[in-house]
């Protein structure tokens, strides 16, 4: 599953980390003298500021050619201030966005517990989670959800469908399902429940007669450190001889969670992270651990590893002198704080910088791995979209380029990978079509494109194709044997 995310890297890099400690300012107090002293020192032009802003607002509300939505105007004004900061991580979240954000970093949500995806434009179950309402109700992988409570899912985005399937614990949602093995649609009632959000996965891999522990951290949510510690304990009790920590695709999360994890593995009382305030004041968060773990540790990163993931990766390299395998990380070096505005909406504001264990600012730069390993090229392709005209010999465009990279990755040599549909590409497409029961035309039509995509997704999910993870395991085994 984790590797499957790699193909969607661009979609993943949203909603990056936040800091857990909430400020609780009373928004009604802003004009009282309580906090006035500090505020007067900020700017002498406050009154002018407000007068000019109000003048502009009233002119717009009175004179604009169309009706003006009061709330949109307010939200626009706040968005505009944040945009003027030039910081993509400082954002305004309305009530719904704020509660989705809080939920995304919580320990659970309320729903049916099934992973879903869009396939051929239909909302499709990837897999029901173990012991979830979805599993208990008998939902199966590849079930296509045609209706939710009698309403068609046609035209819904995946996110919109998910929002309709979710709901309060104890309530029932009726899903109308199309299943390959059934001749007609079936409607299945599912009683919603509390679904834990899994942010830590672990397993013990036995390879070359060594026991390697693998811990994947999917994000740094409210209880991630606790789960990490439990996983570590279990792996240690099973006699793990080396540990791989995988933070690929991990967008970050709460700062205190990565600090807690750092305390378990960063040795020599080294800093796990440093923070720097607007005034330049620095704080260092030291690990209480004296001795290194009695086994080697190797991290795994990719370009979507951001924020708290980068803190952990940098600490592994700089404080632990451990190796990190993979790609340079995303490069987000600021910490945000969410601040309620009193009506359910929140500001998420960058309030300080963090520096790596050794004091480096990685904002916009990222953390370089000690051992750079890229995945095969086809891991990074987007699905080929076919418009009205299918692609055929002598045409050229970016879509054909993607298809060529995919064909190559799947073992069909297209001759070139620059988007020019050559005679060799036609031959490769024919060979692919023949082996996948498609019409053998040598032309990339919608069917061929979607089969290509499905095959690539399958290959991406195979651990044997995961060069980064396999290299990390090799490195750990080498270090065990040193």
């Amino acid at each position: 599953m984790k590797k499957g995310q790699i193909i969607m890297i661009l979609a993943v890099v949203v909603g990056l980390g936040a800091y857990a400690v909430y400020l609780q300012p009373d928004p009604t107090s802003v004009s009282t003298p309580d906090i006035g002293e500090q505020i007067e020192s900020i700017a002498s032009g406050d009154e002018e500021f407000l007068e000019k802003f109000e003048a502009a607002r009233l002119i717009i509300e009175e004179h604009y050619v169309d009706d003006v939505d009061h709330n949109e105007l307010l939200q626009g004004a706040i968005d505009g201030m944040l945009e003027a900061l030039g910081d993509p991580y400082s954002v305004y979240m309305d009530q719904e966005e704020a509660s989705q954000f809080t939920e995304s970093l919580g320990s659970h949500f309320e729903g049916i517990g099934a992973e879903v995806m869009m396939s051929d434009g239909k909302v499709t179950i990837v897999t029901p989670m173990r012991e979830s309402p979805a599993e208990r109700a008998g939902l199966l992988p590849n079930d296509q959800i045609i209706e939710i409570d009698g309403e068609t899912t046609e035209g819904l985005s995946l996110q919109e469908a998910v929002m309709q399937i979710r709901g309060e614990k104890g309530t029932t949602v009726h899903l109308t399902i199309e299943r390959e093995t059934a001749s007609e649609l079936v409607t299945i009632p599912v009683v919603r429940d509390e679904i834990p959000i899994e942010t830590v996965r672990h397993e013990l891999i036995e390879q070359d007669e060594q026991k390697i522990g693998l811990i994947e951290i999917l994000s740094f949510s409210i209880d991630t450190a606790e789960h990490f510690e439990a996983a570590l304990d279990e792996l240690e009790s099973k006699g793990m001889e080396g540990l791989v920590i995988d933070v690929r695709g991990n967008p970050g999360g709460y700062l205190d969670q990565v600090e807690e994890i750092g305390k378990l593995i960063i040795p020599n009382q080294q800093p796990i992270v440093q923070t720097e305030s607007r005034s330049g004041e620095k704080m260092r968060f030291l690990s209480p651990l004296n001795d290194p773990k009695p086994y080697p540790i190797v991290g795994v990163t990719d370009r979507a590893s951001a924020s708290a993931s980068e803190i952990l990766s940098a600490a592994l390299i700089e404080a632990g002198e451990y190796d990190v395998v993979g790609e340079t990380t995303f490069g987000k070096g600021t910490v945000q704080q969410t601040i309620p505005l009193g009506d359910g909406s929140q500001l998420k504001l960058s309030v300080f910088k963090w520096l790596t264990s050794a004091g480096h600012d990685i904002n916009g730069v990222g953390v370089e791995p000690t051992i750079e390993v890229m995945q095969p090229d086809y891991f990074y392709t987007a699905p080929v979209s076919v418009g009205e005209d299918p692609y055929e010999e002598d045409m050229l465009n970016e879509q054909i380029r993607s298809a060529q990279i995919m064909l190559n990755g799947l073992g069909y040599n297209p001759g070139r990978e620059d988007g020019y549909f050559s005679t060799e590409t036609t031959e490769a497409v024919r060979a692919f079509q023949e082996e996948h029961d498609l019409d053998i035309t040598g032309i990339i039509d919608e069917d061929t494109a979607s089969t290509l995509h499905e095959r690539v997704v399958e290959e991406v999910r195979e651990r044997e194709n995961d060069r980064q993870l396999n290299r990390a395991i090799e490195v750990v085994i080498e270090q065990i044997n040193e």
Copy 2:
């Protein structure tokens, strides 16, 4: 010159029209009861709005990770409100932008009177205007401006260089010039003067024994109607038998100017334009003219003809039953008003819609010509940019596509125009290089690309290549002979 603009269509579509009558609200009065009555009816949530906005502003100013610029924050807030309207024509202009905007629609500016362009990254004189300070000082076409008042122009944008060359009437600017015929740099003092902004050009074309008047309107500035009337009078007194009005590349301007022009040529007391306010109230501006002109009239438009240009084009077609030759126009159907905010900055706000003579809303749609004529393909290409690796056979990209269209337009057949560098393309490049004293390599390097661009610009400026204008003249001649 006019046709030369076509190649830069994307750059031209900015700073579209405005309405001349200024509101003069006193921004200090916004919180007084004077205008309170109207304002109270707008929204009951005003106080909440301001409280929440202030809360957000104070949180940002106090807690953001970096120093916050008070003015940028205010400008951001106003920009944000305008952005929430979803109207690209409603914008905030700071003092400098506001005065540039006003100047751009004025009758003159203060400077040296030379048209300049960027060529090979250098600020280059295209041509000094007649009887301008630039001409009097002896500046010549293709002079490259290396320094302005002793400061290098390296790294300046064209706009920045222009701003430094301009200045108050009577002051002197020293330009250090590189000239092909001179062995060393020369520094030339130029005394700045008032330079009239030419928005109307006219000439009498004698073709097929007919006298055709051509009036180009470059924009609708403060004195454009006056100059249009003078041009019309002169052409009529010279016995013009048909009239072509060219508004290609014309971004619009003052509404009253197009009304005044309409009054001179739109017959039968028809509406020149209609306006519609937020409440749906319509006004029609009727032409006082009874009879049509005793000669045929044909308009010429392109996709950059916007706003006031579209009003005129639609009135020609709908009220005058005249032909318009060229392309569907830009599609801007709103009128803006500039409103000073008291400190030199201004809001430019869409305050009403305009409808065509017959009452159509063309916003987002444009005015269709009665006779569609496109320019040759190479008119629409962007210059070919060559990076580190020059382009050669078997490569493919958008740049090569542009080069192929240019080669074809210049009479060298590249075999295909889809960006694949074929053997025929190599042959075409070799032939082009041979005829232009370039190294005959068949490879598109920087020299070849810039020579291609220069040749295309030359061709675009030739009237014989201007299909739209030539077709308009043909149509007028046909109508004279009917």
